[in-house]
């Protein structure tokens, strides 16, 4: 059942894509994604996967070439980070509108300026409304598993949408850690070969990317929204299947020590495991702390969230991005809005943490939890640990 190996997570993500036997990779290098780009090209140039690797001239071209390739029916992968993702932003909503199941590995990184190459989530957050399915990984194992799952979810005829896997830059991408790498035969069993809905080929002529007049544009948008909203069923299905075959459980929202918890942290990405230690430490001190880890960011798991917060008095939502001039961090405002209709909802506070590679330690999570217990902070959202 797979092989336990030590591997850098960026490399492991490329290996996972290789297990999916991709046909085309179009990738432009950017720190901290560059090891993904390099390793994908290693895999292709060593002939381990029969694929074309396009050394595109920009991220804009990377996603554009990925769309062209996916349009022909090729299983296509790309990867980026930060400014690169923002440079792709023109093309992101088109990829989903064209219903092409491209898989994108994102090494999450802060957005300039000032320029900063370190990890936070300010690259993906502005892209949350582009119609991509978004997974967030806690660790290298999840990166590998989610990469394989992403192809299956995206290519499902009921979905037909691009999927991105968010892995924290450096914290995950540059980490050598133990990972169970599934066998090729296992992945082949899990992931059937891709049968595209339509392809650019003269044998069956299609026009892709047509003009939507006002008379149909709104209907087209509705159809895309329904597709992504409904995709959560397929995500659950694929994750159940994964658990059955590989024994590792995935849930849109993963709860940790929340059954009797009064105050519960909310995290996305690699800080989740550090936060678990904080919960353990707080429990030793008699604080009924817990943790919710969001694994599926789009489509947002509203039902799972409502179920997960039952009985909780205070939610301390951490955000690794700002919404300047907005109501708080994007995860916070999402969660607060999601729970608005609940007759008995927890109080919700918001910490902006871990911006641009700022380390957040166990003690920080403990302190945040303790301060949040009152259900109110000094400000609507607090930049935790910011000097001044």
């Amino acid at each position: 059942m797979g092989k336990r190996v030590g591997m850098e997570v960026a490399i492991a993500s490329a290996e996972a894509a290789a297990l999916c036997r991709f046909d085309v990779a179009a990738v432009y290098p950017i720190t901290p994604q560059s090891h993904v780009a390099e390793h994908l090209s290693d895999i292709v140039n060593d002939g381990r996967v029969d694929a074309s690797f396009i050394t595109v001239a920009s991220e804009h071209s990377a996603l554009s070439a990925a769309i062209g390739a996916a349009g022909t029916g090729a299983r296509t992968v790309t990867a980026t980070s930060s400014q690169g993702l923002l440079f792709m932003s023109e093309i992101l909503p088109i990829a989903s509108a064209m219903r092409l199941p491209i898989v994108m590995l994102i090494a999450n990184r802060a957005v300039s300026g000032p320029i900063n190459i370190w990890n936070d989530h300010s690259d993906i957050m502005p892209m949350r409304d582009t119609g991509w399915i978004s997974f967030f990984a806690d660790n290298g194992q999840e990166v590998v598993d989610m990469t394989i799952q992403a192809f299956k979810v995206g290519e499902d005829r009921r979905v037909m949408l691009p999927v991105n896997i968010n892995m924290d830059g450096f914290q995950l991408t540059h980490m050598v850690e133990p990972i169970i790498m599934p066998d090729q035969e296992e992945v082949d069993r899990f992931l059937p070969s891709y049968v595209p809905y339509a392809t650019l080929h003269p044998d069956k002529v299609v026009s892709m990317g047509t003009l939507g007049m006002p008379e149909i544009y709104a209907e087209a948008q509705k159809s895309k929204d329904v597709a992504i909203v409904n995709s959560i069923k397929v995500v659950r299905e694929v994750w159940n299947e994964w658990e059955k075959q590989f024994g590792r459980k995935y849930e849109p929202i993963q709860s940790y020590q929340t059954e009797d918890a009064d105050v519960v942290l909310v995290t996305m990405g690699s800080m989740g495991e550090t936060a678990e230690i904080a919960v353990d430490e707080l429990r030793k001190l008699g604080v009924k702390a817990g943790l919710l880890k969001i694994k599926l960011w789009r489509p947002f798991p509203f039902d799972e969230l409502k179920k997960a917060v039952k009985g909780i008095k205070v939610l301390a939502v951490t955000d690794r991005a700002c919404s300047f001039g907005g109501p708080g961090g994007p995860v916070f405002s999402e969660i607060r809005s999601a729970l608005y209709d609940m007759p008995k909802r927890p109080k919700i506070v918001n910490y902006i943490i871990g911006l641009g590679g700022r380390d957040v330690q166990v003690e920080d999570f403990m302190e945040m939890t303790r301060k949040a217990a009152k259900g109110k902070l000094s400000e609507p959202y607090v930049f935790y640990g910011v000097r001044g």
């Binding site: 050598v176 850690e177 690699s270």
Partner: protein, 182 residues
């Protein structure tokens, strides 16, 4: 859990060392992390890299501030960088040097154990080049027992191919020669 900080200069292979140690531990069935100080690495500039090794799953993903062991690949760094910063009082400072304790004490403010190993000398003899990262791995293994010495075999073979045997020989010599000098 064992936490280790490596000091070297860009190009000296500190990042390779943390990777090799992590791979060796994982191969033993242990849990480990190996990661560089995040950011651009420039040849010649002082760099750090980190390891965690444990028998249980390692959840923590924040930085290492209080290591159990500090490894210094390049003795010239001792005068430039506070290599003992945050080192646990019960921890060990391992330096690639031929200097005496008195000489080292001029630059190092650390009351705990200090170990030295002439890794440069060993590397010259065994490898023909003054690249000390694999050599110092042997010294590290001796001082910490993080992994078994033979667990270095496979990762080093995979990494270095034809010159693996020389690297392993160098590590073995450092394993034998490293001394705690206080």
């Amino acid at each position: 859990m064992l936490e280790i900080r490596w000091h070297g200069r860009g190009g000296q292979g500190a990042v390779t060392s943390v990777e090799l140690l992590a791979l060796s531990a994982i191969e033993e069935g242990k849990y480990a992390q190996g990661f560089p100080s995040f950011g651009p690495e420039r040849r010649g500039a002082p760099v750090t890299a980190f390891n965690r090794v444990d028998d249980k799953q390692i959840k923590i993903r924040s930085g290492i501030y209080h290591p159990d062991l500090v490894v210094v690949l390049d003795e010239s760094l001792v005068a430039l960088v506070d290599v003992a910063e945050g080192l646990k009082p019960a921890g060990i400072l391992l330096v690639n040097t031929t200097k005496t304790l008195e000489q080292l004490k001029k630059d190092i403010r650390f009351e705990g154990k200090i170990a030295t190993c002439d890794a440069t000398g060993i590397a010259w003899k065994e490898l023909g080049v003054p690249i000390t990262n694999t050599t110092m791995l042997g010294a590290l293994v001796k001082l910490t027992g993080a992994v078994k010495l033979e667990s270095l075999d496979n990762p080093i073979k995979e990494r270095f191919g034809r010159i693996a045997a020389k690297n392993l020989a160098a590590a073995k010599r450092a394993y034998d020669e490293v001394r705690i000098i206080n």
